[in-house]
Symmetry: C2
Subunit: 205 residues, 2 copies
């Protein structure tokens, strides 16, 4: 199979940006990884920002596609819990994309890297809508569904970026056991949270 140079550059760019961040990677190092000169890269992408933006745009559309594939017709606590497990598996299959998105979350504070924002917006809004539509949640403020949805997202994504560090801390064997236990626990947590509905009462300690 013949992959175009352009696609190879995007793939290498994703790999390097996800590992070292936008500022940690030079366009020369990306081109080098393909045995090309820096200017060969600039022939395909007129600037570093353009390359990065296109990588982000690709992640965005791929992610949307995968989420759409995970979305069932009707919604129950079970189906949304299954969606979370699906997102987890997804994040394991595409760790570089997950890392890059996490970096965007961190960097968005400073830069306006609008690219990733709107697809995150749609994804998040959709997820919140679906949680808020569940019987235990629909008669309570939307903010509660938002909090719960985001906590579940955090449980999924935080793990996805911790692979290397966790493996170093726990050791390979223990990490593997934990990894195996993860989806089951995640499903249980999501199910318990979504079925129970929002907690009114005091919001702080």
């Amino acid at each position: 199979m013949t992959t175009s140079t352009r696609d190879k550059l995007l793939a290498i760019g994703l790999e390097q940006f996800s590992q070292r961040g936008f500022d940690g990677v030079s366009i020369a190092s990306i081109a080098d990884a393909l045995g090309l000169s820096k200017q060969a890269l600039l022939h395909h992408f007129s600037s570093k920002e353009k390359l990065y933006g296109e990588i982000l745009a690709r992640i965005s559309s791929e992610f949307e596609g995968r989420v759409a594939a995970l979305t069932p017709g009707s919604d129950t606590p079970e189906s949304i819990a299954a969606l979370m497990v699906g997102l987890f598996e997804d994040s394991q299959e595409h760790p570089q994309q997950t890392s890059l998105l996490m970096r965007e979350l961190l960097d968005n504070s400073q830069r306006a890297r609008r690219a990733g924002r709107w697809f995150l917006r749609d994804f998040l809004a959709g997820l919140i809508d679906r949680v808020h539509a569940l019987p235990p949640w629909r008669h309570h403020p939307r903010a509660m569904a938002e909090a719960a949805a985001y906590q579940l997202l955090g449980a999924v994504n935080y793990f996805a970026i911790s692979t290397v560090t966790l493996r170093a801390i726990l050791g390979n064997e223990e990490y593997t056991a934990m990894h195996a236990a993860f989806p089951g626990q995640l499903k249980a947590m999501a199910l318990a949270t979504l079925s129970a509905g929002p907690i009114m009462g005091a919001t702080s300690d």
Copy 2:
């Protein structure tokens, strides 16, 4: 109050590194923020890595201190749920430290920035021990307590780094409402998860 130049450099360094990452910040920009020359900084810290390392070391010891203050004598699901809420409030009070640690988690894959790893190890091992010692968990494999503990940690920390992006996506008002609902939901989720104990059965879909 007189803060030493050295301490000011550490504070500004934390601010800038947390926002733009190690590679996104130049030592000149840190020195500049204090109206000093780049070489004034190099007088106090012999290299950029040294400065960064010391910032990380300070975060580490501060974090350990705060966690110790949150730790009660006995453990129940309630006390660990309260610890999670405490960690959340902590992350809100020290957003820069939280961001920087998250960047370390992402960067540890590539670099060996040993400084942060061992205190993370101690903290995580301690947390897992405490979950594993709870009655519903103690007779099951440790990996299950690890998975649950890490999911709760993810729920806390993922939110902590999303402030700016979430506020942009949800709007200020809705974000504030969500933020207010967060600790209550977090406590409920932790409580439900920790009280229920591990899920055996199939681990994947």
